[in-house]
């Protein structure tokens, strides 16, 4: 029982059981609350198993369990199983924890849903938990890819949960389509890698890499293709456009999928594969610079958003850029650490935003206001999350963000460092802009009618919020003291630079939005063109839409034409010819017996001739 692979497998299979039961047993699912309880209980059990797995495997080393799935002559072609080591079990805990908390939270958030829909929601949640854990624990590329796609599917299902709303349906399709584009690249990369090395298995590939047996030529293409898949899932530029739209889904979904788990799959993959990517430093540079650029771009975009969830979405994109930059700089452990802490406080922020949205019945921050007085508890936890995001000491994000900044310098990317530092300033600014607008000040005048509904969150929603807040603070306090092996020596000034930048950002937000000392309009005028461009999301969405309409749909139409007229046409022609031939051949049957005698006679002659033909 102390085998971490076994414990990890248990954690993996519990949500699978939940999904299967809910999917097959219709009445249970349609009951709604029963489905929710089943899913939550199994999810809690999975969390326990995950923690146990981590405790056992934290000593280092790894263990795995494999089942051969597609047999072939030279060894099985596809193998499924779990690979439990320190990283994967840690990620497993994150997935299980956030999944469990989100499911509990959803009981409160989705209390207005019809019961069958609720059951459907929990079925999807279970499937997602299973898929994400399968991805995390994957021992080879085949299972990774399968779970990767499953996770994408769950994202589609959950974003489009309220599928009767056209925006939600469109957002779900957009998310699926864009991540799919990246996944195609990843598939190409995986197959190329197999072609070069003959194996999908991570451990075998690791051994090959260590022994220097992986051929280097063409490896850059491979790693770049794999990075494409990671970029799609982790919303790196230019694939980031799906994440803001994905906010059409319920807020708990955003917290789970678009903060803590699915979007981090890309970062996780790169962390797993860092020994492969180290062999291609050019691709690493691309990863780093693109990560930095994404971080900056998203931070700028977040400054002009009015929808609270969109602010958080762009914030996620920005932070993912941070993680990627760290990996690109060569220090994946920094990125991974930020992945874990970000998962906690971003989930906290999303769930807090959900409470706010639930109470004020709007997403627009300019329609909220003065929430600090009427929802004190929610305000506290939200501010905790914001402080973690901004990188203030003793809150979760500070240490990991500093690690990343140090990693970029140690990796020899001073430009990246500068960009990330500026982005940190913007991060603090936009986050506290939201806080001062929504929580500070007076209530928005037009919202007088909804006064009675604005209260603190009900227990189902409040408890997960508090748990996450405590975790965020706890991580912030204890992390520097836990011996976290930094892989590099960072100059000491970084810490002060990071803190300064964050405080400056908060200060600016305070001055603009709370004290109104600096007018927001003046600021807007100063940054005029940038602001306009940001409000148009730098026209990237339009570009994608144009590509879709112009190229994709045309291409699909052409393929359809070929299918209808050429492929079907060939078949129709053949069948028409057959009918014609049959019609003509009918005339042999004249009904005159003598004609049939003809036939017999000719046959006999033919037989005789054939027998006597000179050989």
């Amino acid at each position: 029982m102390t085998d971490p692979a076994f414990l990890a497998l248990t954690a993996l299979l519990l949500p699978a059981v939940s999904f299967l039961v809910l999917a097959i047993v219709g009445p249970l699912r349609r009951h709604g609350h029963a489905a929710a309880y089943l899913s939550i209980v199994l999810s809690a059990a999975a969390l326990v198993a995950a923690v146990a797995a981590w405790r056992v495997s934290a000593a280092g080393g790894f263990s795995e369990r494999l089942w051969s799935w597609i047999p072939a002559e030279a060894g099985p072609l596809a193998v499924l199983g779990v690979l439990a080591d320190g990283d994967s079990t840690l990620m497993l805990i994150l997935v299980a924890l956030v999944s469990f908390l989100v499911q509990v939270y959803s009981l409160g958030y989705l209390s207005d849903e019809t019961l069958p829909s609720l059951g459907r929601y929990y079925t999807y949640q279970s499937l997602f938990a299973f898929s994400m854990m399968g991805l995390v624990l994957a021992p080879n590329f085949v299972q990774l890819f399968i779970c990767w796609e499953l996770v994408g599917l769950c994202s589609y299902l959950l974003i489009g949960y309220w599928y009767t709303r056209p925006e939600a349906a469109r957002a779900a399709v957009k998310a699926f389509w864009i991540t799919r584009a990246g996944d195609t690249g990843m598939l190409v990369g995986i197959v190329l890698l197999w072609y070069q090395t003959g194996t999908f298995d991570f451990l075998q590939l690791l051994q090959l890499a260590d022994a220097g047996l992986i051929p280097l030529e063409g490896l850059g293409v491979i790693t770049f293709c794999i990075y494409l898949g990671a970029a799609g899932k982790s919303a790196q530029f230019p694939f980031h456009v799906w994440l803001p739209d994905a906010m059409e889904g319920p807020t708990p979904v955003s917290a789970l999928i678009h903060a803590a788990t699915m979007v981090t799959a890309g970062v996780y993959l790169l962390t797993r594969m860092v020994w492969l990517f180290r062999l291609t430093p050019d691709v690493m540079e691309i990863v780093a610079w693109n990560g930095a650029f994404t971080a900056l771009l998203a931070a700028v975009l977040a400054c002009v958003q009015t929808d609270i969830k969109r602010v958080l979405a762009y914030s996620t994109v920005s932070q993912l850029g941070y993680m990627m930059a760290a990996i690109g700089a060569g220090f994946a452990s920094a990125g991974f650490l930020h992945l874990l802490t970000h998962g906690i406080f971003k989930a906290l922020l999303f769930l807090g935003a959900g409470a706010v949205i639930h109470a004020s019945a709007t997403n627009d921050i300019f329609q909220m206001g003065g929430l600090g007085r009427r929802m004190p508890q929610t305000t506290i936890v939200f501010v905790v999350g914001a402080l973690s995001l901004a990188g203030i000491p003793f809150f979760g994000g500070f240490f990991s963000k500093e690690e990343i900044l140090g990693a970029t310098l140690a990796g020899g990317f001073p430009g990246v460092f500068a960009i990330l530092l500026f982005a940190a300033f913007l991060t603090a600014f936009y986050m506290f802009r939201v806080i001062f607008i929504a929580f500070g000040g007076a209530p928005a005048p037009s919202h007088g009618g909804g006064e009675s509904h604005v209260h603190d969150a009900p227990p189902f929603m409040a408890v997960p919020l508090w748990i996450l807040a405590l975790l965020a603070v706890g991580v912030g306090i204890f992390l520097p003291f836990v011996r976290w092996q930094a892989e590099f020596e960072a100059p000491h000034g970084i810490t002060y630079a990071a803190i300064t930048v964050a405080v400056l950002g908060i200060a600016l937000a305070y001055l603009v939005y709370q004290r109104r000392v600096i007018s927001a309009d003046t600021l807007a005028a100063v940054l005029g063109p940038i602001r306009v461009a940001a409000q148009r999301r730098f026209w990237l969405d339009d570009l994608f839409a144009g590509i879709y309409r112009g190229i994709m749909l045309r291409f699909a139409w052409a393929v359809g034409w070929v299918d209808r007229y050429l492929v079907d046409g060939v078949l129709n022609v053949l069948s028409a010819w057959t009918l014609m031939a049959g019609d003509r051949l009918r005339r042999i049957q004249t009904g005159q017996p003598q004609d049939y005698v003809y036939g017999v006679a000719l046959g006999v002659i033919a037989l005789l001739v054939w027998m006597r033909w000179p050989r």
């Binding site: 049957q589 004249t590 009904g591 005159q592 003598q594 005698v597």
Partner: protein
């Protein structure tokens, strides 16, 4: 005369019979052609029986003759029946099998 002569004779008779079957319009005429063909077969059988000193060929011939006679009788009976129903024995008009 050697075996070949008798076989040639039978072959010629057979060909004539076949010609008759194919060209004749009257059903009874067709049956007569069939008679000739069967005759040719019998000659073949008896010739082989004689030249191989095997009496079984002749036994075979006995059987074929008997069966042929029965077949002719029945064929003519059917012809008469068709004539009664359709008032014709011209084979061209009996084309119910036409597909």
């Amino acid at each position: 005369m050697g075996l070949g002569a008798y076989l040639t004779l039978a072959a010629a008779l057979f060909a004539i019979g076949l010609f008759g079957v194919i060209t004749r319009r009257n059903t009874i005429g067709i049956l007569l052609g069939i008679e000739l063909m069967l005759n040719a077969v019998n000659i073949n059988l008896v010739a082989f029986a004689r030249f191989n000193a095997d009496v079984v060929g002749m036994i075979f011939t006995v059987f074929t003759i008997c069966i042929t006679v029965a077949e002719v009788a029945l064929g003519l009976a059917i012809t008469i029946l068709i004539f009664r129903i359709r008032r014709t024995v011209v084979a061209d008009h009996l084309d119910l099998l036409k597909g």
